[in-house]
């Protein structure tokens, strides 16, 4: 173990520091991108990078399973679903959807309120518990085994309930989609054929 210090930090701490700044920077900048993008699709793509940045933070904390799940579920599934919804909507309406910042004042106020409520809470909690110095699990087991065991023992009920909820959501989505398709086919059979490619109504570029 090399314990040479540079400006008061070991090389390992420096690397962690730089890694944290990098991933947090990606998450922050792309979060702002979500806010300020004019096209909804651009916002969705920025959201993808934001979620990837958060995944990087998980990886830095040694929470590897969370890292994988974050990418798989949020970046891989939810971002894809949002983009898909936008794509189909734009195709159905034939014009680009723009997102404005119309409720700027209300947004700033509610964000400020959130900070005012959360900052003292977090501060008090941290002050009471002390800043955690070690994040990686020190037991011999891997993250996967630990999480799997907890799922099937202590949190079994929550785990099973979640899967039932997801199953219900899935079946519900199928039922809704089927009903809609049937009524579509009765009303306008040629509706699918006439749709033109999307034509951007606005030449806005991302800021």
């Amino acid at each position: 173990m090399n314990l040479v210090q540079y400006y008061g930090l070991t090389a390992e701490q420096w690397l962690e520091y730089v890694g944290f700044l990098g991933t947090a920077g990606v998450a922050l900048v792309s979060g702002l991108g979500v806010l300020f993008a004019r096209r909804v699709l651009h916002a969705a793509v920025w959201l993808l990078f934001c979620l990837l940045g958060v995944a990087g933070l998980f990886a830095l904390m040694g929470a590897h399973v969370l890292f994988g799940v974050q990418i798989l579920v949020y970046a891989g599934a939810i971002a894809v679903m949002i983009i898909f919804a936008v794509l189909l909507l734009e195709r159905a309406t034939g014009r680009g959807i723009l997102s404005g910042n119309r409720h700027l004042f209300a947004g700033v106020v509610s964000a400020g309120a959130f900070v005012v409520v959360m900052a003292p809470t977090l501060g008090v909690a941290l002050w009471a518990a002390g800043w955690p110095s070690q994040t990686a699990p020190t037991t011999g087991q891997t993250n996967v085994a630990l999480i799997g065991r907890l799922f099937l023992t202590r949190h079994l009920l929550a785990f099973e309930l979640m899967s039932v909820v997801l199953l219900v959501a899935m079946i519900g989505a199928i039922v809704l989609a089927r009903a809609e398709r049937r009524s579509d086919a009765e009303e306008a059979p040629e509706a699918q054929g006439g749709g033109a490619a999307h034509v951007p109504t606005e030449e806005a570029r991302p800021s």
């Binding site: 173990m1 090399n2 040479v4 070991t10 090389a11 390992e12 690397l15 096209r39 699709l41 651009h42 793509v45 993808l48 990837l52 590897h64 399973v65 890292f67 994988g68 799940v69 990418i71 798989l72 970046a75 891989g76 599934a77 971002a79 894809v80 983009i83 898909f84 794509l87 189909l88 195709r91 891997t142 993250n143 996967v144 033109a196 490619a197 999307h198 034509v199 951007p200 570029r205 991302p206």
Partner: protein, 355 residues
């Protein structure tokens, strides 16, 4: 053992660093950079070789010779084509969304390259390091999901109805076929009791009969992974996203020059990664079929050979079978492959519980 060459290179560079007073952690950083360069060189060579092989295989299957003019037996044909693509004009349609048009190929290629991070190349090449993750397989599946966003960005950003249709079909197909792929891989996870790819290989290194492929209850998952893997890289029985007869070229209709080249690079690299995954899960990864590997770099050679077997099978299938229709494609996935893979998961679970 001579085989842990990675360990030796590491020890050597560590000694070098101690002598010159470089902190130990920089050794890791240097090793990551060398690894990244290795992967980038590898995918370039692999993509060029795979495209050449594809042309030759298709030629022989159709009673032709394939490329013969440039270089001996046409060996320089693909490098020359790559050079041509590099110097071609990069055309972006006027009403295209420039940001997304550029992001498409970039996302697709970077997702494919990121998948290489957890491939166990050789005995202890990355065991216990950051990249030998306990979540290796989960990471691989998760990262491959980012690639389909590249397809969407490219297809939507081109402002072309064929591109958009190709992208929509592509994503629908990728999402659908990911389910049997993951479920088939889960069967191997049940058998190996780990998500780490190098630990899976370690359980199969006793020789050819220790491969997971020969366990009777793992044969069905192997076939499912083969089919879903070919579908996952959009190759011909499943190449609905770029069906030439219907969609011009699908999501990359509006691409030219090197951006078009990047789509091809991603396609063939992805094919190779799926081959590597198949080799690791079922064919013993870097383990020699004779059991144990004693020569330096032997594991690297074995793993590559096994992955190329998958690539060759994929090419053979591509030039033999006709393309499926969209509805047939979806029906095959949802009505055949997914029930079969659930059944396989149950069978493997029951067998492992009582055997």
């Amino acid at each position: 053992m001579i085989a842990d060459w990675a360990e030796r290179i590491r020890a050597f560079s560590e000694g070098l660093c101690t002598r010159f007073g470089i902190p130990g952690l920089l050794v890791d950083v240097l090793a990551w950079i060398f690894g990244a360069i290795f992967v980038l060189l590898l995918i370039t060579v692999v993509a060029l070789a795979a495209i050449y092989l594809e042309r030759k295989v298709s030629g022989y299957i159709q009673s032709r010779l394939g490329p013969m003019r440039v270089g001996p037996i046409g060996l320089f044909q693909t490098p020359m084509d790559a050079l041509k693509l590099l110097e071609k004009e990069d055309i972006v349609p006027r009403d295209a969304d420039r940001f997304l048009h550029l992001l498409g190929p970039v996302l697709l290629v970077s997702a494919t390259v990121m998948m290489f991070a957890v491939i166990p190349w050789d005995v202890r090449a990355n065991v216990g390091r950051w990249l030998d993750w306990e979540i290796g397989l989960l990471y691989l599946v998760a990262v491959s999901g980012i690639g389909m966003l590249g397809i969407v960005c490219g297809g939507w950003g081109s402002n072309n109805k064929w591109s958009l249709l190709g992208a929509l079909r592509g994503v629908a197909q990728l999402i659908s076929y990911e389910i049997p792929l993951v479920l088939a891989a889960m069967c191997v996870v049940l058998q190996a009791e780990t998500l780490s790819l190098s630990q899976m290989v370690e359980q199969q290194q006793a020789g050819i009969w220790a491969w997971f492929l020969w366990r009777p209850w793992l044969m069905l998952p192997a076939i499912l992974l083969l089919i879903a893997g070919i579908a996952e890289v959009n190759r011909t029985p499943f190449d609905i996203p770029e069906a030439e007869s219907e969609l011009v070229a699908g999501f990359h209709t509006e691409y030219s020059g090197m951006k078009f080249g990047l789509f091809f690079l991603a396609e063939y690299t992805h094919l190779f990664v799926v081959g590597l995954l198949f080799a690791v899960l079922f064919l013993g990864g870097w383990a020699s079929p004779l059991g144990g590997s004693n020569l330096p770099f032997e594991g690297l050679v074995w793993l590559n050979l096994k992955a190329w077997i998958f690539v060759l099978i994929a090419m053979w299938v591509r030039w033999t079978l006709p393309r499926l229709r969209v509805d047939q494609l979806m029906a095959m996935c949802w009505k055949l492959l997914i029930p079969a893979s659930f059944a396989a998961l149950v069978i493997v679970g029951v067998v492992l519980m009582y055997a």
